[in-house]
Point group: none
DNA sequence: TATGAATGAGTCTTCATTCAT
DNA sequence: AATGAATGAAGACTCATTCAT
């Protein structure tokens, strides 16, 4: 049975998450969260000491969901029936969604959080998930190269390159303008540099 | 003639810039700037109404300096004596510096600023300089392709790809960890996808 | 039979007392006591309504212990075998300990409590014990004077004088500095003014 | 010319002082002072950072006034025309006022302050003034003894004894009850132990 | 122009106290 | 009896902004 207290904690995290998605990290105050949750000032402090702590929790939870995707991705990648090209396509499609996501994205909040918290950079859920992804991509590309499906590229470098392009588009979508067309153009370009026509 | 007032304005902008470099955009207050400048509270308001306005001015000035570089780059690129490969190398070396710059970089402040100011995204100096760069790179790559110096790529897509990888590394260097080695690996990789060995 | 409830009450009082000894009266909150006792917030309120009430109870109990000493003192004083000088020496030695006691003393808390609670000044356990002591000392000195053991002093005034010097040293030890040597000097001085060499 | 700012500072100190006299130290908040002064919350912070700092200033000022008395006392004591007995009488009369002072006394606030601030005990204006007084009294009693005006007492011990009795009465007047009669009785007693009839 | 004192709104944080279980 | 979640009032502190000089 989930205790009432655990449910409330959940409620706070979910509410806070939607605030962080809408308005980023830096500008959110404990008061904002209190009001959005419809609880008392003191009540929030029973569960969390600061927006920093709350965001960490939001991140942790978001990563768990993301890990779900990664697991799926891993399964797909591990299945030798699927060609590397196909898996890469699957991956890019998912990333495309992330890049273009507006309402529901923690991207801006996460950037802001890590700008402010240099200490947290080394060991945090985001970082770990990120590195996992690099490893999976590297393996995948290696396999593709071995199978002659992909160009003869340095798999590790290519994997990271992919990640940097995606990261670059993610941040550009949130600081300048980035339309769907351009994302598609880029993804296509990446595919072209990896997969012989 | 530079009036006293213009000098003071300059002084404010320069001082604020160093604050923004050190501590980003969001956390800087009018009070911080007043204190760093050694002027009076009221005095600052004679010149600027908010940190927002000041940052805009800082950006404008930073872009002017950058334009200086762009002009140089343009000259180098336009000089038909220089091979496209050589110019791209020149460009990448400059970007490498930007990516790894710690002390003196407005990157974090700029990200924070545009995260908070969605309105400013469409028309701002950064954006314009950025687009100028894309155009120059596109021209350059086109020429390289035409000369048979580069692989047969879609010049526009390749130019943007370059920019996204760089942007991705810039933001990663400021939210996670990114060492010089990895930057070099990536730049090498880019070169390899463009320039036949 | 000691009920469970009475035991808990005891536990609270004892725990609170050690807090008051360590940190005085004013700064102690109900929360502090709850946490030190390891009981629930609501639980404490079943027994006491405020730190004020708790402190009163602590005082009452402390006075009972002190009354034990006073009874002993009274017995010693009443025993005509003991010279007045000897009894006074016995008394001063005990006071010396009190004055210099650091860890385990309620002195600061008591001062703070009565500073804040003017109403309680007239009738409280401290006051009563104090007056008992004055009476005992007065009797003792009277006897000593009658026996020719002490100088011819006004016994009531001398008794109070003794008490004021002690009080003065007690408070000085807790607001300024007061070393053991000075206490001894003073006790010696008092003895000299009372007892012919 | 006294600047407006210095006047306001003065105003704050005077207002705070009367609060400290009325209600002691611990219970006074920055808000209390703000309201008593009729200024804004932020306004007070322009001058002082905490009640601690304000009280220190109040003490400093009070000590300056007290030093005025001490100077007078010193002059009287130094004038060889005045017998030691007369000077002691002068001193005791002044202390009598202090002990019985109700409205206008910083005594309680000062005790509370030093209970809370053990660090400040060693070097603070109160302490210094106190030690000055001990020295003056010691000199005075020494002289009185030399002149045969006083009993043959240890001057240093007698001076401190005097101070402790006074301190004892001061604190007793503020934690229990102490009427004028008892004070007079005690002062008389002190005189009797020092000055032959 | 320039100053810096002054304001007051906004946020953080802690606690006494209550109350459903 | 006992728990501990919840509340809301209270106080600390900071800043953007104004204004008299």
């Amino acid at each position: 049975m989930t205790s009432k207290s655990a449910l409330k904690r959940e409620h706070i995290i979910r509410t806070a998450r939607s605030l962080f998605c809408k308005r980023g990290y830096s500008s959110i105050t404990m008061k904002d969260i209190v009001e959005a949750c419809g609880i008392s000032r003191g009540g929030l402090y029973l569960y969390f000491d600061s927006t920093h702590d709350i965001f960490l929790e939001v991140l942790k939870q978001a990563e768990q969901e993301e890990d779900g995707f990664n697991d799926d991705f891993y399964d797909v990648a591990a299945n030798s029936e699927n060609s590397a090209a196909k898996v890469i396509g699957f991956f890019l499609k998912a990333q495309r969604r992330e890049i273009l996501k507006k309402e529901d994205s923690l991207a801006v909040a996460t950037y802001e959080f890590f700008f402010e918290n240099k200490e947290s950079r080394k060991d945090n859920p985001i970082r770990n998930t990120y590195e996992d992804m690099v490893v999976m991509l590297t393996d995948l590309i290696e396999r593709g190269v071995a199978d002659g499906e992909l160009y003869e590229v340095d798999a590790a470098a290519a994997a990271r390159n992919l990640m940097f392009v995606i990261e670059g588009m993610k941040v550009t979508a949130r600081t300048m303008e980035l339309d769907q067309q351009m994302v598609d153009q880029q993804l296509m370009y990446i595919v072209d540099t990896l997969i012989p026509a």
